[in-house]
Structure formats: structure tokens, C-alpha cells
């Protein structure tokens, strides 16, 4: 595009074709022209801004490995959080708490989301109900996460009379639901209609078509949605602050999982220890962040890798 015509013969040939006084020089891309300079300048500006936009990502990752990685030890994974001047300690109970609450949230939101998505994509895609449900799901997906906590506080904590892992799970499930539902709907829609028609043509009922044909075919993409939802829920702090609260003890007592008590989570541990003046707790806070970010990123990337392998229609 920016090749300069230099041979005098070519130039004359072209100038002969140009009307009136126009010179070939006006058609060349010249660095002396302000409009060309402006274009180059703006391209450079956009490049610089993009590089700057990625600086925080690398800065966060660098800090996590620099401050969190240097002090991370295996005992962190099975010890309880330390008291202010205590050495050692870990985030074992928070890790278990996060897994348990994300598990509870997944058990609520995944079946709920997939069943509703089956309706949206297959059973009544153009019905008025579907339009309203889709709108509600979109409203939920833009819902501030702290309000999910406020809701769970009103609906579960006040009802059951105390902070609990249940309340935390319910709050997280509100945030997971729209992600699961909307991605599952999209996934079921992406199943080639030939397969659906073939199944119905063979005499299968709608239910058989959904369960035997549509869901298995759409499964990789549905899993992507589920994984993304899990990654989001695992990193959420705001809905857990006043639903699951925090605890310095294990969620499993006497080999029994007790979901009716305040429960620790990685995110709340990081929040609680980020503002304290005690060096050991701050160190632990960075190590916990590293573990949390790695967990979230691994689940996120694993989820995305599922849908990459989905066969194209």
C-alpha cells in the first residue's frame, strides 16, 4: 500500500492519466503530509495505551509470585489462620470453605440454569415467558454482587438466625445462575438443527431428544459456562462478607460437615488480612491471593478449552 512509485516512466504514465493539474506526488504516501503523520501518531498512541492497559495484569501477577510465592509452603494448605503475632499458619479452612460454598452454589445453580436453558432454547424459545426470563437473566447478570449478599442476608441469615455456609452458597448461586443459564441456552441453540430434526423424525419424544441428543452434544459448551461461573463465584468476596462471615476453624467438625456455622473463605481471608499491620498475616494474605488467582485462572482456562474443542457445525 505504501510502496512509492519511483521509476520516471511509471510516474509519467500515471500522470498522463490524471486530470488537469494533479501531480502524482499528491497520490503518494508521504511522511511530510500532516494527515499521514496524524495517522501514524494515532496508531502509536493506541499501541502505547494498549501496552499500558496490560501493565496492571503483569504487575498483579508479578506481585503475586514475588510476595505470595516466596512464602508459600505446603503447610499453608492444611493449617488454620494464625493469630496476630503467631508464626506460620495457613488458609486450609478457607480453602475448604470456598470449595464447600462454591459446591453448594453449583448444586443449586447448575441444574436450575440448565433446565431453564432447555426451556429457553428448545421448548419455548419464542414464547413470551422466554422473553421475560431472558430479560430477568440479563438483569441478574448485571446485578451488583453485594446485593446478592444483601438478599441472602434477608432470605437466609435472618430466617435461620445466624451466618452460615448455606447463606454464602445461596448468595453465590444468584451470581452463578445467569452465567450458567445464558451460556447453556446459547450452547443448546448451537446444536445443528439436523440432529434435532432427525431425532424427532425417528419418533423420539421432546424429552428424549433433549436428554439423548441436545444435552450431550451441547455438553462441552455448557461445561464452559459452568466453569466460568465457578471461577467467578470462587473469587467473589462481597456476597460472603455478611452471609458466611469468617471463621478461624474448620467447616468439618468431628468428621461431619456442618453448614450451619460461619464459614471461612479465601476471598474473605484476603480481605480481612489485607488491612492488618501484622507482617505474618499480610504475608499469608499474599500467599492466599496467589492460590486463589491460580485456582480461578486454571478453572477459567480449563473451561475455555472445552468449548475450543466443540465441533463446528
Amino acid at each position: 500500500m505504501n510502496e512509492v512509485l519511483q521509476g520516471p516512466e511509471t510516474r509519467q504514465d500515471i500522470e498522463a492519466l490524471l486530470p488537469g493539474e494533479t501531480s502524482i506526488l499528491q497520490l503518494q504516501r508521504s511522511l511530510r503530509k500532516p494527515r499521514v503523520l496524524l495517522s501514524i501518531f494515532l496508531s502509536l498512541l493506541v499501541t502505547v495505551l494498549t501496552v499500558f492497559a496490560l501493565v496492571p495484569l503483569f504487575s498483579v501477577i508479578f506481585m503475586l509470585f514475588y510476595r505470595g510465592g516466596s512464602n508459600l509452603s505446603a503447610s499453608n494448605f492444611w493449617s488454620l489462620p494464625p493469630a496476630p503475632f503467631e508464626e506460620g499458619g495457613g488458609f486450609g479452612n478457607a480453602l475448604v470453605g470456598t470449595l464447600v460454598m462454591v459446591g453448594v452454589a453449583g448444586l443449586i445453580s447448575v441444574p436450575f440454569g440448565i433446565l431453564a436453558a432447555v426451556f429457553l432454547a428448545e421448548l419455548g424459545p419464542n414464547s413470551r415467558t422466554a422473553t421475560v426470563v431472558r430479560f430477568c437473566a440479563k438483569v441478574l447478570s448485571g446485578f451488583p454482587s453485594i446485593l446478592a449478599g444483601v438478599f441472602a442476608y434477608g432470605a437466609v441469615v435472618m430466617l435461620m438466625g445466624g451466618f452460615s455456609a448455606w447463606a454464602g452458597g445461596v448468595a453465590l448461586s444468584i451470581l452463578m445462575l445467569p452465567i450458567v443459564m445464558l451460556t447453556a441456552e446459547e450452547a443448546i441453540r448451537m446444536v445443528p438443527s439436523k440432529m434435532r430434526e432427525a431425532s424427532i423424525g425417528m419418533g423420539a419424544t421432546h424429552t428424549q431428544t433433549v436428554i439423548r441428543i441436545l444435552l450431550p452434544t451441547a455438553m462441552p459448551s455448557i461445561l464452559t459456562g459452568v466453569m466460568l461461573a465457578i471461577a467467578r463465584a470462587a473469587g467473589e468476596t462481597a456476597p460472603l462478607l455478611f452471609t458466611a462471615l469468617f471463621s478461624n476453624y474448620w467447616v468439618v467438625t468431628n468428621n461431619q460437615l456442618d453448614l450451619h456455622q460461619p464459614t471461612a473463605s479465601m476471598a474473605v481471608l484476603i480481605y480481612n488480612f489485607s488491612g492488618v499491620p501484622f507482617e505474618n498475616q499480610v504475608q499469608l494474605c499474599w500467599s492466599a491471593s496467589l492460590v486463589l488467582v491460580l485456582m480461578v485462572l486454571v478453572v477459567n482456562l480449563a473451561g475455555k478449552s472445552f468449548s475450543v474443542r466443540t465441533p463446528q457445525r
Binding site: S43, T50, V60, A116, G124, V133, T205, T207, L292, L297
Partner: protein, 343 residues
């Protein structure tokens, strides 16, 4: 059992199959409806719990500036101000960077540079290296998406230990030399509006970049080619043709990002300083609705009055974000439907 017999293949569904089909359809329909019920239940739960506070405080709650649990005097004007101020500031920064990233991705600058680099060494048609430009583009896109994957509490931690120490010197220099200018009128002692907004900008950048990029990508290639054909440079085309055509989508992205910024809690609760004051200074601490809830709810415990007041504040936050989000979704719908005729 009898499936080998040909006449048995073409049988109508058995009663059990018909029953299970109907059950499954009903269950799926009910769960779809349950979504609607959940949304209304959330609104009702927060609304009904805040009713006592609404009766007691009335609309004065929105314009009051004191927050004193001892006297029972509550007002959230400083929080509303802080929410809007920090979000708008973050939006300003996030939009500049986000739209730049969207343009950078959509114009395939990185791919172009890598391709030209390979061409210089004559490897641009190499079976493996030839795929490098596309791979770099994908990598860049994924890196921008990773920004959104990092939990907000980690951004908050990063803000405390990296952003605040980094900007403190510059901010205090600005305050000393340009203190007459209202946004620089107080020194930055630690947490404050600017660090909070900077971190918030990083968090909404991926949203703006992703949706703006979609908007840019839906601009019909015909328009770009026509502009190039008339002799316009790349940026003349961008500024005169592509950005105006995609403006609706980009604006929608900005509004949706605004909705996200309003509801974002943790990074702000950790960085804004939680001071109940209204100030235009960028370096003064403030408070937002979401961080007010985050800081006070756990301790409200048995105090029903305080819970009701906090629920009321939650209701206000919900109203603001719902309006902003619906507005954004509407704009995006308009913007994408308007381009359909052009393709």
C-alpha cells in the same frame, strides 16, 4: 426385548414415556418461571426489609449527610456522591484505555507487525510460523480477558500495596504546587478517591474493550473498503467512518461498564478510605454505597433498625444500577439492530 420384531419399532410412545415427557416439559417450564420469581423475590426481600427505615427516614435519607448509629440519624448523600464520582472517574480512564484496546485489537495491529516482521525474514508463508500473527492476536485478546478474571479482592490488595505507594509522591507534589485547583485540594495520605478509581478503571476496562470490539467488528467491511478506496488513511477511515458507525455500541459498552463500576464493592471498600464526606478532591477519602454495605452489615447483627437502614441503602444502589443497566442494554440493542440493514 421385542425390539427385533419390525412392527414393534414404529410404536407410539408408551404411557411412561408420555408421562415423563410431560413431566420434563413442565419441570423445565417451572424452572424458567422460577428465574422470574427469583428476581422479584430479591427485589421484594430487600424492599420489604427496608420498609421500616423508609417510613422512618423517608426521602431525607437520600439527602442527609450524617451517619450516626448512636443518634439514629442516617443519610447517604456522601455515599451516593462517592459512588457516582468514583465510577465516573473510573469510566473516564477506563473508556480511553478500553476503546484504545478495542481499536488495537480490531485493526489487528499486533498481527500486522508480526506478519511484516516475518515477511522481512521471508518466513510469512512458513507452515508453522505463518500462524504466528493469528496466534498473537488470540493471545492478546485472552490477556485482556484475563484482566476480568482476577478477583476484585486481589485487585484491592494490589491497590493497597502497589498503586497507593506508587502514586502518593506524585499526588502530594500536585497538591503542594497546584493546591488551589479543587481536585487537588487535599493531600493523599493513603486510601482515597484516585487510587480507588484507578483500580476500578482496570476492572471495567475488559468490559469496555470486549463490547466495543464487538461493536467495531460489526461495522460492515464495505464501509472501510469504500473509505480506503477514496484515499483516506487508516485513521481518517476510523475517525470519520468506523467509530461513528460503531458509536452506539461503544456507548452501550460504556453504560454497561458504568453499571458494573457502580456495583463494584471490594476494591473500593479496600481503597476508598470509608470516610463519610463529600469532596471534589481526587486525593480525599470517601465512601460508596457498596462499601458502606460491606463495612456495616456484618456488625449490624441484632440491631433491626440498622439492618433496615442498610437494606434501604441497598435498595437505592439496586435502583441506580438497574436503571443504568437497562439503559445500556437498550442502547446496545438499538445499536446492533441499526446495522443489520447495512450488511
Amino acid at each position: 426385548m421385542d425390539t427385533n420384531a419390525p412392527q414393534e419399532i414404529a410404536r407410539p410412545p408408551s404411557p411412561f414415556q408420555r408421562f415423563s415427557d410431560r413431566t420434563f416439559r413442565t419441570v423445565s417450564f417451572l424452572f424458567a418461571w422460577l428465574t422470574i420469581v427469583v428476581v422479584f423475590y430479591i427485589v421484594w426481600e430487600i424492599g420489604s426489609n427496608s420498609a421500616p427505615a423508609m417510613q422512618r427516614q423517608g426521602l431525607g435519607f437520600l439527602s442527609g449527610t450524617t451517619w450516626d448509629p448512636n443518634t439514629g440519624e442516617y443519610g447517604i448523600l456522601p455515599e451516593i456522591w462517592g459512588t457516582l464520582y468514583s465510577s465516573l472517574l473510573a469510566l473516564l480512564i477506563g473508556t480511553v484505555f478500553g476503546v484504545s484496546v478495542a481499536i488495537f485489537l480490531n485493526e489487528s495491529y499486533l498481527g500486522g507487525v508480526v506478519y511484516n516482521g516475518l515477511k522481512l525474514v521471508g518466513l510469512h508463508l512458513h507452515p508453522v510460523l505463518g500462524k504466528l500473527p493469528a496466534a498473537c492476536e488470540t493471545l492478546l485478546k485472552n490477556l485482556v480477558e484475563l484482566l476480568a478474571a482476577i478477583p476484585s479482592v486481589v485487585y484491592g490488595l494490589w491497590g493497597i500495596f502497589v498503586v497507593i505507594p506508587m502514586i502518593r509522591g506524585g499526588c502530594n507534589w500536585l497538591h503542594e504546587h497546584m493546591g488551589w485547583f479543587p481536585p487537588f485540594s487535599t493531600p493523599l495520605s493513603g486510601p482515597g478517591m484516585l487510587p480507588a478509581s484507578l483500580v476500578l478503571a482496570v476492572m471495567i476496562l475488559p468490559t469496555i474493550a470486549a463490547i466495543s470490539r464487538d461493536a467495531l467488528a460489526t461495522v460492515p467491511p464495505k464501509l472501510r473498503e469504500a473509505s480506503y478506496g477514496l484515499g483516506a488513511t487508516r485513521w481518517e477511515t476510523l475517525l470519520a467512518v468506523i467509530l461513528p458507525t460503531a458509536a452506539g455500541g461503544i456507548f452501550g459498552a460504556v453504560v454497561l461498564a458504568f453499571g458494573r463500576a457502580l456495583g463494584e464493592t471490594m476494591a473500593l471498600a479496600m481503597l476508598i478510605g470509608n470516610a463519610n464526606r463529600i469532596s471534589v478532591s481526587l486525593f480525599s477519602p470517601g465512601n460508596t454505597l457498596a462499601s458502606l454495605l460491606a463495612n456495616n452489615f456484618a456488625e449490624a447483627g441484632g440491631d433491626e433498625n440498622k439492618v433496615a437502614v442498610l437494606m434501604y441503602a441497598g435498595l437505592v444502589l439496586m435502583a441506580i444500577t438497574l436503571i443504568v443497566n437497562m439503559f445500556g442494554a437498550l442502547i446496545l440493542q438499538r445499536a446492533t439492530s441499526g446495522l443489520k440493514g447495512l450488511n
